[in-house]
Amino acid sequence: MSFITKPKVSWSGQKKNALGMTLNDYEGGLSTLCAGCGHDSITAALVQAFWELALKPEQVIKLSGIGCSSKTPAYFLSGAHGFNSVHGRMPSVATGAQAARRDLIAVGISGDGDSLSIGFGQFAHAIRRNLNVLYIIENNGVYGLTKGQFSASADPGSSNKKGAKNLNQAINPVAIAITLGGSFAARSFSGDKQQLVPLLKAGLMHPGCAVIDVISPCVTFNDHVGSTKSYAWTRDHLHASSAADFVPPATEIIVDYAAGETTNVELHDGSTIRLKKLDPEFDPSSRSRTLEYLEARRADNEIVTGLLYIDAEMPSFHDIAGTAQQPLTTFDFDQLNPGAEALQQLQKNMR
């Protein structure tokens, strides 16, 4: 953290997006995280993604649980809606928010502790309901906020700052998401904005639950030798399977890859997610082969990144639950609360 706030200035040549807004217009309060924390980079990548998509901040709702990662919604899009909930409960609150306001774009920020321990059940159900949310897990292998205890994503054999080894198996959120029938599963690294920003854009526009597991080193408690979530270790073991790109509606797609290398995934609004294969072994069209691929690379100590699975046609929470098109906030009181008689009528119909 810093003592001074980030100055707001403008200069000639400063870039503006389609709404005439600068990057700084998408920022939030000044971060109080440790200097060098990966979470801050993810915040910056989100600012970049929202700015590039030229979304209005008031179109967005930010949701989170508890943890250093869950604090970060305070640091971007100060003009957006937001709800900082309790530990591991972000998905429930996101579900409620979407049920009431499906016009809002939801971004849920969670941590490996928040989603893979206390909130593991909530995480699972958000996926199987295909809840319309960009679900980011800022994964550092530790409980950062509570001073660096191993989390459920810590790799077996990796050691903590004091040298003690983790003996438990690690939960792999990407594999979980695919296994539970997730419609969008990706992994990236806080230190690679070139990959992360397009993935965030794709995830924001994906009609369903877009899970992005972002390796995000904790400089304070998990950046030492022996950690498998440090900057150095992550860089040494990164393995990019694919590059994803989000192409807005009515944009000409310039073909610069050899045929067969790219897959275009059309979204309902006319935009496209393009997937370029970087590893010939990788086949994003099949769940089982993706899982096999993930396992094989893991066995080789490689951290596979990229958009690993996508199915844009899967029915989302809104389709399944039949949520109201119109935001509940715009209904008249009489409509929202039609009175005791109407309730009795409803109950009668159900007898």
């Binding site: 953290m1 801050d40 400089v219």
Partner: protein, 601 residues
């Protein structure tokens, strides 16, 4: 891409836009911080070291530092650098004890200087403390050159001039007033060890159009007329006055006319406003006094009736302008404008009728002395030129810088050393880190707009010719303006071996100065920066390859606020904020005995 050589003093010097833009390289941010601490005397002395006349320059400097100031790139207006200089001068204590002591035993070297303008005075300022005997020959009866004879006292009060000139004269200048040098040959025969020509550019340009001779009684050459006013030989002027030309001299002529009784003053410009030579602030001040500036009027003839000037005929001009350049000129008609007096302010030139042309002092095709741009030595080894006399009319701060450089040349020359054997600038860096988030400078950005200088009321200022118009900053204005300075000399210093490429600095930077990207050639790397390059005058900094990925850190200096947030956010202190101090060598820093030591004596 080749890593930037930050050990070259120019690298960090160039970052300090104002200091780089100042001909004398005044340490602006340092004196601004001293003012912020209320240390006016110290701030004055920092100024005096490089620009010698802070009180004078704090009022009338051409201030090339201000258009250069980085604040102007992130805000509407630059820091009021010049006004702050005046604050230091107005509020300092007695500085006599801080001036160099003059040795009792002289070094036996005698220097003759022609003209007591700022150039010659600077040479004396640098050489007297080294034991030289300096004799200035001045045609007028007071020292100061154009600062006294041409810059009006309502811009530059006599007390300020006297005080700063006396600091030098009192070091023991042998000042011969009312002693014009009529023959260079005679002067050279007097056997001085070196001669410095600081005689300025004293010849005002003429306007040879019909009626010039006949109307002479009411047609005045601007710089001569201002001199006559300064020495009280002229005390009034006609009701209707036309000023020809629209440079800074024209601005002084029109405002002086108003104070001598003129009612209707028009400044006649040949071209549109974008081509005016006068500084913006001088134009503003004249217009505030209701001077009318008439554009696109080219003088054609003076009109004389019964042997007396009645006005002038002008051609009405029309121009085609493309990207700031005139591509075609047309005359669309003519007009008569009545006038009682006309003042010509269309430029000035050097003139050396008193230098015989067979002395070995060469003159070029424009009759200007041939002298070296960095040493100011003429083709006659012992004769040096400086100030307006050297390369034509410039301004005070350039004349001062010429004086410093000529003093080094003279010091070397009279000791038998090569004039080109000069000490290069040095650069010293020291960290400003006090704690994790604490710096020993005010790094918080002050969003306030530039403070506005208050003026004496329009009624009051015309009562007396020498009422200074600008009031100077008050305490509140000063306190705010000093905080507008971005402290560009507190440098962002990068150690590539420490960087873990976490992106923290890039994410926090409020102006997108930083990029980590793959190494490549400079052109290619430039295409991959966070923000587009807007200012080619501020070169990019490129680090060596970073340890984890071999990529490089690039910093675009253009709009860096020197806020220190990159250094605060860096978990490994790869960025640090360090104060850069430019070391400039003056004559006294050149050890002229080194030659003798080499010879074994």
């Amino acid at each position: 891409m080749k890593p930037t050589d930050t050990s070259n003093p120019d690298h960090f010097h160039q970052v300090v836009d104002c200091q780089w833009g100042c001909p004398a390289h005044t340490d602006v941010p340092e004196y601004i911080r001293l003012i912020a601490q209320g240390r006016f005397t110290d701030a004055y002395m920092v100024n005096r070291e490089s620009n010698v006349f802070p009180g004078i320059l704090g009022r009338v400097c051409d201030r090339p530092c201000e258009p250069a100031c980085r604040r102007g790139r992130v805000d509407d207006k630059p820091v009021a650098i010049c006004r702050l200089k005046r604050v230091a001068a107005d509020h300092k204590d007695d500085i006599s004890g801080l001036l160099p002591t003059i040795p009792k035993h002289k070094n036996g070297k005698r220097i003759a200087l022609i003209g007591a303008g700022c150039a010659s005075l600077t040479v004396c300022n640098d050489l007297l403390p080294l034991g030289y005997t300096c004799t200035i020959f001045e045609a007028l009866n007071k020292p100061g050159g154009l600062m006294r004879s041409n810059i009006p006292s309502f811009r530059l009060p006599a007390q300020v001039l006297d005080e700063e000139i006396n600091h030098i004269v009192d070091m023991g200048v042998d000042l011969r007033l009312q002693t014009a040098v009529k023959s260079m040959r005679a002067l050279l025969e007097e056997g001085y060890d070196a001669v410095f020509v600081g005689s300025g550019a004293p010849k005002g340009k003429e306007l040879a159009i019909p009626g010039r001779q006949e109307g002479d009684a009411n047609i005045h050459i601007g710089i001569d007329w201002l001199e006559s006013v300064a020495f009280k030989h002229v005390e009034k002027i006609g009701q209707r006055v036309l000023i020809i030309g629209v440079g800074n001299t024209a601005m002084d002529c029109c405002r002086t006319s108003l104070r001598l009784g003129a009612e209707n003053v028009k400044v006649m410009a040949r071209k549109p406003r974008e081509f005016f030579k006068a500084s913006d602030w001088e134009l503003e001040d004249a217009e505030e006094e209701q001077v009318e500036i008439v554009i696109n009027h080219a003088p054609k003839a003076f009109v004389i009736a019964n042997g007396k000037l009645t006005g002038m005929i002008f051609e009405l001009m029309e121009y085609d302008i493309d990207q700031g350049r005139i591509t075609a000129t047309r005359v669309t008609g003519e007009t008569f404008i009545a006038a009682d007096d006309v003042i010509l302010a269309i430029g000035q030139e050097t003139a050396f009728p008193w230098i015989e042309r067979d002395l070995g002092i060469e003159f070029n095709q424009w009759d200007e002395p041939v002298c070296a741009a960095d040493t100011y030595q003429s083709t006659h080894a012992g004769v040096f030129f400086g100030g307006d006399a050297a390369f034509g009319p410039k301004n005070i701060i350039w004349a001062v810088e010429h004086g410093h450089q000529a003093a080094i040349s003279i010091h070397n020359y009279v000791h038998g050393l090569s004039v080109t054997d000069r000490l290069p600038p040095t650069m010293n860096l020291s960290s400003r880190k006090m704690g994790i988030h604490e710096w020993s400078y005010s790094n918080d950005f002050e969003p306030a707009a530039r403070r506005k200088m208050e003026h004496v009321s329009l009624v009051e200022r015309f009562r007396k010719l020498d009422t200074e118009v600008e009031l100077g900053f008050n305490a509140e204005q000063t306190a705010c303006e000093v905080e507008r300075c971005l402290n560009c000399d507190i440098q962002t210093v990068f150690t590539d071996q420490l960087c873990i490429e976490c992106d923290a600095c890039i994410d926090i930077c409020p102006t997108q100065c930083l990029t980590i990207t793959e190494d490549g050639d400079a052109v290619d790397v430039t295409t991959r920066l966070t923000a587009t390059v807007e200012n080619p005058d501020q070169p990019l900094f490129a680090s060596g390859q970073l340890t984890q990925t071999g990529r490089i850190m690039i910093k675009d200096e253009n709009v860096c606020l020197h806020c220190g947030l990159c250094a605060e956010r860096c978990p490994t202190a790869a960025w640090d904020m360090q104060k850069s101090t430019l070391g400039i060598a003056y004559a006294g820093d050149h050890d002229v005995l080194r030659g003798m030591r080499k010879c074994g004596s």
